[in-house]
Amino acid sequence: MEHYLLPDIGRPGKIGCSLPSLDVTPAELPPKELLRQELELPEVSEVELVRYFTALSKLNYGVDTGFYPLGSCTMKYNPKWHEDVAQLPGFASIHPYQPIGSVQGALQLMFELQEYLAEITGMSATSLAPMAGAQGELASILMVKAYHHTRGDKIRNRILMPDSAHGTNLATAAMCGFEISTVPSDDRGNIDLKSLESMMNEEVATLTLTIPTTLGLFDPQIAEINQLVHQRGGLLCGDGANLNSLLGKVKFGDLGFDCVQLNLHKTFSTPHGGGGPGSGPVCVKSNLADFLPSPLVAKNGKDYTFTSPTKSIGSLGAAYGNFGVMVKAYAYIRSLGAEGLKEVSENAVINANYIKEKLKAYYHLPYDRVCMHEVVFSGKRQKAKGVKTLDIAKRLLDYGFHPPTVYFPLVVEEAIMLEPTETESKETLDAFIDAMKEIVRDADENPEILHTAPHNTPIRRLDEATAARNPDLRWEMGKT
């Protein structure tokens, strides 16, 4: 297929929709210097634009196409009726600033979702305002900062996080003006308690932990960690990216966390959309409730209203969070109930452990212990034969699978981070396992096919270096 973009198929005089004519007397035009002289946009008919975007969609791989085992992304199946329900006019066509009495249904949904998420995480209060996990993390860290300052404690300028922390954890800490210290993991993949002991002092505001870790492992020392951090005046912040392993079974609050941010587009089945929209609500214990980002939904008898916590860290957006995403997460929780949530986490954990058992003879398993909803392998055995994890990932594409996450977490050499999720069948897992085994065989017998993979995809490996050296980030129309 010849490659083309909108300007290539556009022609003057075409249009892709119909608009009504002006039904009022035209007004005088504003001063000329305010008006734009030229507007150069492609002009395409509806037929052509539908064919164009349809063709492009076929170059994409989604969860609906097949297995998508990206670690910590929780690429689970997106229930279809959620999509329908979110499009009901009563949810889609409502304005954030219309009279509050006229959106009580929406506020009720938000209020109940706040409650459900608090219950699921074992916390006291929820703010649905953050529009993504990273914004939820920002809220958490800002709340930690505000909490200490309010107590008159202004020397806590440091945040601790494990060496397996996600990049957003560090970027967020830096955005809030904190110094970062990394706590090493021990050879079991758990936090090195001795190091934590020596690092946890009166300058530390919080320890941020992903539980289970990005290695897919639950740190059994959590009670000791909790005690140590709190005893020395720090808070314990949770990154809830891996909540899919604990749904319906374990509460963040019970483990000692003061706050945790969630990802509705991971754990709660809302679609990833090619990179978004997401939603990153944050749940807190009562010690942090006054600092939550605005607004919260409160219930007053039968009426729902928006409130702002007394010492709120502020607003994170011009409205109330990604309501359209919340609707789908709400529907998910209501369709599962407590038992259903438990089945989710148990199936997710079974699936990951199954893959772990079947592949550990073939790929190096840095931590040979029970994993949670994801498992991390290392491609180092294959690297010794000249085959990198990148090659393995690209070759999986030829088998019709989306590769797992590669090269993260950084603590594992040639990392392969696999999260199957609970919505995959044993048949799919077996097919994937077979493909991974064949790749090991190819590493021995036919490495060239791996170095040059993928072969069967719409496009093959791209020259990213040249793309970064000479960036071409847009087409241009109308310039001489």
């Binding site: 690297k383 010794a384 090269y407 050499e413 990213e464 270096a465 970064a468 050296r469």
Partner: protein, 133 residues
């Protein structure tokens, strides 16, 4: 492989002394191989005063960013425009055409304490053994 007349740092920079108390700085072959295809250089402006071991710039590849530390103190005289325009030259010829910064050295004796090429060869061999390519 690593030029005999150059001096080296443990962060994989080299410095080549030039007459008149000047020096040319770059990154070693090992460094460029670890970084992968280099796509962008962030180098200091001419006239900038720098102190030994200070971070003076950044080298970006597709998947990584590396800090550039100066092996010696002094004043930046010029930077390699060819490397800025075509960063791949740093991968292709890190010791000559891929030089990065030219300094006027303020304390030339600093070079005496740096690693010589034998010592750097040893360091490189050890690192390559620990994680074979």
């Amino acid at each position: 492989m690593n030029p005999k007349e150059y001096k080296y740092t443990p962060e994989h920079e080299w410095i080549c002394p030039e007459p008149g108390d000047k020096g040319r700085i770059g990154i070693t072959d090992y460094a460029q191989s670890q970084l992968g295809d280099i796509v962008f250089l962030d180098l200091p402006a001419p006239g900038t005063q720098v102190e030994q071991s200070q971070k003076i710039g950044e080298i970006e590849s597709v998947k990584a960013v590396s800090e550039l530390f100066t092996p010696a103190s002094g004043k930046v005289l010029e930077v390699n425009q060819l490397a800025i325009d075509e960063p791949q030259v740093v991968n292709e010829d890190p010791y000559r055409a891929g030089w990065l910064v030219r300094l006027e050295l303020s304390k030339p004796s600093e070079l005496d304490a740096l690693m010589n090429s034998d010592e750097y060869d040893e360091l490189e061999a050890r690192l390559r053994e620990e994680s074979p390519e």
